[in-house]
Symmetry: C2
Subunit: 239 residues, 2 copies
């Protein structure tokens, strides 16, 4: 067996349960090893893809953090999401055969390249894969609706609390601490995602720290009282 091939097989990847459907037969699992054509490393501040690039592949993150941004014609950028290991990037490119946003590494990263034609061919044969692709895209749509809710009807404190709890949950799902983690993004990037200015993010953080709800030292965050954050996201429940 070719060692290189073995190395990039999904069947022995520890991110498997995040990227792929569960409950596959051994046979199906082996067919899915065709899925990943290659791996690609993207260094900090590098582009995985840019707005306008032709779309050929999706990308499964193996290690590291990305952000995606959409560009307004006038140069304003808006962060539309932060993606971490096990998450899939690139769905924005399907509709027009061109990517419609930038995907930028927030630290040194590695991704699995999933040629989209191969994914389509395989998901015609393996219905568990077909279903999985639909679910992942649906999850992205639901996530986006959550962000709209955040941006459309929450205060600065509520937005930040929601953001921190969301990060915590995703770290936990990957076996990391949900109460202590390092932010990979700047205050400005958080602000862009949350529709706030960086000063507002900083002030809200400081206020949370003052109140003893979190501890912050630069990018190091410890969530001391997750329940208090959760109450913030939805203040009416305690009235």
């Amino acid at each position: 067996m070719d060692l290189k091939q073995a190395k990039i097989a999904c069947s022995n990847c520890n991110m498997r349960e995040l990227c792929l459907p569960i409950g596959l037969t051994t046979d199906e699992m082996h067919r899915l090893d065709q899925l990943v054509g290659s791996r690609r490393k993207v260094i900090r501040k590098g582009y995985l893809y840019r707005n306008g690039d032709s779309f050929k592949s999706l990308y499964a993150i193996r290690t590291g953090f990305f952000k995606t941004t959409v560009n307004a014609a006038d140069g304003r950028d808006q962060v539309t999401g932060f993606q971490m290991a096990g998450e899939i990037l690139g769905f924005d490119g399907i509709v027009n055969d061109h990517h419609q946003c930038d995907a930028i590494a927030l630290e040194d990263t590695e991704v699995c390249v999933i040629p989209f034609d191969v994914l389509q061919a395989l998901s015609r044969e393996v219905s568990a894969l077909q279903n999985h692709v639909h679910k992942v895209m649906s999850r992205e749509i639901v996530r986006d609706h959550g962000v709209m809710m955040l941006l459309g009807s929450m205060s600065a404190d509520e937005r930040l609390a929601g953001f921190l709890l969301n990060l915590a949950k995703r770290f936990q799902a990957r076996g990391f601490s949900s109460s202590e983690f390092v932010l990979r993004m700047t205050r400005e990037e958080i602000g862009s995602y949350l529709g706030l200015k960086l000063e507002t993010v900083s002030r809200s953080m400081s206020r949370f720290a003052e109140e003893g709800v979190i501890e912050v030292k630069q990018r190091q965050v410890r969530i001391v009282d997750a329940a208090a954050l959760a109450r913030l996201v939805n203040p009416s429940v305690c009235q």
Copy 2:
């Protein structure tokens, strides 16, 4: 041939080019006639589906307008979109087998019910359909990113201008006037979608009207100077 069957066939539906892939062979077209199980009428203010309902089908809108809303635990609602004839509703339900938002008719409507298992089966066989489904979901994701941009980094006037231009474009794509149309939603619903209060929407509308950019009489809107609206959406280009 059964008349009832003929009546609900996609192959002779005038929304066909909006719902379905183009360039199908006659044979493929006829296979796709299996897609729509039935039609359903939803009266004004009725629910097509509710948050928590089990997910079985997508819905293609034949006539009328819908809104989708997500509910916060505290009762706050956020409108996440307005959908019109030819657009597909229900993708939010795929990920958890339950719908995650409400879809509410803004006027009397009719939809085609597309059982999701049938859609999956057919798109394993007809790759043009598979591709189409992926494109439609991708378009939804890209649209959501646009809304995030709107909510995250635009002023009230910019948001409203963007909203009106978007509606105009969609009416045009359906063969209606892009300069004159009737809003199917209240100021409050527009406000919820744009992250603004209804008074702010009303004031921005009045200001546009004062400046001669639009004419408004209640829900009747005429866009007098689309270029001026476009400039508003992106003010820096004219500086």
